[in-house]
């Protein structure tokens, strides 16, 4: 029973050896340690050996640094972008480029520059050709001089009313002023003898302009890109606010 009691006492005293050696104990703890090591050889040796270890550690020299660890400001980077603007990072350049492309796409859309002609096919019996994009329509061959132009006649849709051939002047004259002459021409419309009918296009619905099918996905993609890059710009600006960039040596 006494041995067990002494063992727990030794354990308790050894717990405060480190602060005792560093003079970080209260006077009561100091007296307790001093009293205990007088009666306990094991703890006395333990304390002496720990004191020797601390002394050995104090002999370890401080190692001199072989180089300086001061930080240097990074020089402005040579940007790969050929038209780099001074003071603009790659991220900013990319954002500006994305905004520019998006603006071009939107402007082209609104102005109709990026639209194409679409007509409905003349023959509804052919469902595969309900819509047909007309591009590069060949110029029809004009009839030779002196020949009468042949008006296209729809043979299976409806009876085309035969219009009376209007009398029209070839040019404004003293009797017909310029305004009346233009009005007459408008009345005449497509029946004007100079009008050349294109076979197969007589009954076609007049072409409407629609945007290219790739335009909308591109607009959406660039809008998303602009948002992402803009957000990244804000984050980077907040992080690096005021701190110069560093150079690793």
């Amino acid at each position: 029973m006494f041995r067990r009691r002494r063992k727990s006492e030794c354990h308790r005293i050894r717990e405060i050896f480190a602060p005792y050696l560093d003079d970080r104990v209260t006077s009561v703890e100091r007296d307790a340690v001093r009293y205990h090591i007088e009666i306990c050889d094991d703890c006395q040796w333990e304390l002496r050996s720990l004191a020797a270890t601390v002394q050995l550690l104090s002999r370890v020299p401080v190692v001199a640094v072989s180089r300086s660890f001061t930080l240097a400001e990074a020089p402005p980077r040579q940007d790969w972008f050929p038209f780099a603007v001074p003071g603009m990072t790659r991220l900013r350049m990319a954002t500006a480029a994305a905004v520019l492309v998006l603006a071009i796409l939107l402007a082209g859309d609104f102005s109709g520059l990026l639209h194409t002609d679409v007509i409905v096919a003349a023959d509804p019996a052919d469902p595969g050709q309900q819509e047909q994009v007309v591009r590069d329509v060949e110029e029809p061959e004009l009839p030779a001089e002196g020949e009468m132009p042949v008006l296209a006649v729809d043979d299976h849709r409806y009876e085309k009313p035969v219009a009376e051939e209007p009398v029209y002047p070839d040019y404004p004259s003293d009797q017909v002023g310029i305004t009346q002459w233009v009005d007459q021409e408008e009345e005449i419309g497509n029946d004007f003898p100079g009008f050349v009918d294109i076979p197969g296009m007589v009954d076609a619905i007049p072409p409407t302009r629609k945007p290219y099918p790739w335009l909308l996905p591109f607009q959406i993609a660039f809008a998303v890109l602009v948002l992402v890059l803009g957000g990244a710009n804000l984050l980077v600006r907040q992080r690096k606010r005021g701190l110069p960039q560093l150079k690793r040596s």
Binding site: R14, E15, I16, F17, A18, P19, D22, R24, W45, E46, R48, S49, L50, A52, T53, V54, Q55, L56, L57, S58, R59, V60, P61, V62, V63, A64, V65, S66, R67, S68, F69, T70, L71, A72, E73, G242, L243, P244, L246, R248, S249
Partner: protein
């Protein structure tokens, strides 16, 4: 912390790199020695020291009063602990780890023999320090090699003073046991026999 140091810290917070570099010059030796004792070789210690100061520069605005040295060493201790974790994954060992440092020139006051003995002893202690558990190594380095108080160590390691005392006690006892295995290499006054 002196008022001049406070001034340097404030200027560093305002983005003045020159002021921060003055702080670096004040503490680079201590930080390097901590990194060397923790990581065990010179190259890793140099890289770690550089990274620690870069980290400190980036987060200088998060320093809100208190002791700058404690704040800096907390950054250093955390970095070294993370680095050891990464190293354990990479399992990179080098011969440098066995002989962590050499001070080539003896001081004018000691003989070449004493210098050699001191170097051997230093190498032996460094080698055995690396065998200790990380938290014990950190506490011993801070307390016995760098002279930090228990309160400062508690702040650096983010633990209680009781934990610091306990780690220091166990760490010293473990180091002593390791050193006693190579008793013949110790100076005669330290060859303790039971």
């Amino acid at each position: 912390m002196t008022s001049y140091e406070e001034e340097l810290i404030q200027q560093s917070k305002d983005g003045d790199l020159d002021s921060f570099n003055q702080l670096v010059e004040r503490y680079e030796k201590q930080v390097y020695n901590l990194a060397l004792r923790m990581l065990g070789n010179r190259q890793d210690a140099e890289d770690a020291t550089q990274e620690i100061f870069i980290l400190a520069w980036k987060s200088i605005r998060s320093f809100r009063g208190g002791t700058f040295r404690t704040w800096l060493f907390r950054t250093a201790a955390n970095f070294c602990t993370d680095e050891l974790r990464r190293k354990r994954i990479r399992q990179v060992d080098s011969l440098d780890a066995m002989f962590p440092e050499h001070n080539p020139l003896p001081s004018p006051t000691e003989s070449p023999e004493d210098h050699l003995l001191r170097e051997e002893l230093s190498g032996l202690i460094s080698q055995h320090l690396l065998c200790l558990a990380e938290e014990q190594r950190l506490v011993i380095t801070l307390a016995d090699l760098q002279g930090f108080s228990y309160e400062e160590i508690a702040l650096i390691t983010n633990s209680s003073i009781g934990t610091v005392r306990s780690r220091l006690n166990r760490g010293r006892a473990n180091l002593r046991d390791l050193l006693l295995k190579n008793r013949e290499l110790l100076p005669s006054e330290f060859r303790l026999y039971k």
